[in-house]
């Protein structure tokens, strides 16, 4: 592998990991606050899984950067400055109401599932192996959020109104998530191309949103997107997430 390919892959995986970590953190904010006990348990688990998946990707980044996979993930999570994070606005947005949380998780899970399906055939063997670990776990998420989108979309007038509002807020940010990876990564067969991913994702989510009684917005112009820039929401999230580790950097628990 050339040096450029190496670095491009590490950057690609860092973005995947950061999205999972930040979404996992947002999901964890429901712990003790979800509308029903069963969903409190479900979202605590989904949060844990997403953070676990971030850990798997961070370990691959560690390998690519010749860092120790046992310690590097914590370094990245707790001691990186906001400017060095690569998360997307979709996952940075505050948790909002239950409709927004559920819909965001669904849109993200759907994208993850089509991406994981393709990464299983990655020409970079450690990536294909990590994919195999994550894919079955993700089945549980997608099945859960798919059912909830339908339940809320076809539920009461109020639940539909909230879902439609959430969809209008989230849709442009969700479309942004499907990016064009650097050409050499696609050519090397390491990661899927943008159009392949976009079609598979749209074929999955658009019919389901419509069957759930929701109007999918027409979006032609996407907000500008740069993974080096962040919403103001990330700053408060990192302050909270990193505070204890930074207070006592060598703490053991």
């Amino acid at each position: 592998m050339t040096n450029e390919l190496h670095n491009a892959l590490a950057d690609y995986l860092l973005a995947l990991a950061d999205d999972e970590l930040i979404l996992g953190h947002r999901d964890s904010e429901w712990c003790g606050h979800a509308p029903i006990l069963e969903e409190d348990i479900a979202f605590a688990n989904i949060a844990l899984d997403e953070i676990g998946h971030a850990g798997v990707w961070y370990r691959l980044v560690a390998d690519l950067r010749d860092e120790r996979p046992e310690t590097y993930p914590d370094q990245l999570i707790y001691f990186r400055e906001m400017a060095d994070y690569r998360s997307a606005p979709l996952v940075e947005l505050p948790k909002g109401d239950w409709a927004l949380t559920m819909l965001r998780q669904y849109l993200f899970d759907a994208l993850e599932s089509v991406r994981l399906e393709r990464l299983a055939a990655s020409a970079y063997p450690p990536l294909a192996e990590a994919d195999a670990k994550i894919r079955t776990e993700e089945l549980y998420h997608l099945r859960h959020t798919t059912a909830w989108v339908r339940r809320l979309g076809l539920g009461t007038e109020e639940s539909r109104r909230r879902m439609q509002a959430a969809l209008e807020t989230l849709w442009p940010y969700a479309l942004q998530m499907i990016e064009q990876p650097s050409a050499e990564l696609v050519e090397a067969g390491y990661v899927p191309a943008e159009d392949d991913l976009r079609h598979a994702w749209e074929d999955m989510v658009i019919p389901h949103l419509q069957d759930s009684g929701l109007d999918v917005p027409h979006q032609t112009i996407l907000p500008p997107f740069d993974r080096q820039r962040h919403t103001e929401h990330l700053s408060a999230l990192l302050d909270e997430m990193q505070s204890v580790a930074r207070l006592i950097p060598d703490a053991r628990w």
């Binding site: 676990g52 195999a132 859960h144």
Partner: protein, 158 residues
């Protein structure tokens, strides 16, 4: 001094799972390999779920147990490949889980069917209903039995 691998496995056999102490980490298929290289013991483990919060507690428990039988240096490695499968849980462990009130995951041979009927560990009825695909730990879900009317937990097929 020679370090006998067999003795290390014997010691590891009684390291309980931190969240399900009725079964051992070996029986659950979490301990994958034990090697001795240049006088150092290397134990390879694989977590059930990638976000398993008991991961560090398991490593500590393994080290503590091995230190009772050896003075050699110990290293615990984590691998995700091949990914942990609920099929690896031994038959004895399945019985212990059932007696403890947790339905073991049906063996799936690599094709995970999420809607598999689960047998109630209390009364043996198959007339059960999934209440929540998520439970008190990442590897468990919550069911209710329509016959004995008891809620119970089931190990997730993975």
């Amino acid at each position: 001094m020679m370090i006998e691998i067999e003795r290390l496995w014997q010691a590891l056999n009684d390291v309980p799972d931190p969240e399900l102490p009725v079964v051992s980490l070996v029986e659950l298929g979490i301990v994958r390999d034990v090697q001795v290289t240049a006088g150092k013991i290397v134990v390879t483990i694989t977590p059930t779920f990638s976000g398993c919060p008991a991961h560090y507690a398991m490593q500590d428990a393994i080290c503590d147990r091995l230190r009772q039988v050896t003075d050699a240096a110990i290293e615990i490695m984590t691998t995700y490949s091949p990914p942990w499968s609920s099929d690896w849980i031994t038959d004895t462990a399945r019985e212990k889980l059932r007696a403890f009130g947790i339905a073991p995951a049906p063996r799936h041979g690599g094709n995970v069917m999420l809607l598999e009927a689960v047998t109630c560990p209390n009364c043996g009825s198959a007339n059960t209903v999934l209440r929540n695909p998520f439970g008190p730990t990442p590897c468990r879900m919550i069911y209710t039995c329509n016959d004995c009317r008891q809620p119970f937990e089931a190990f997730k097929p993975l």
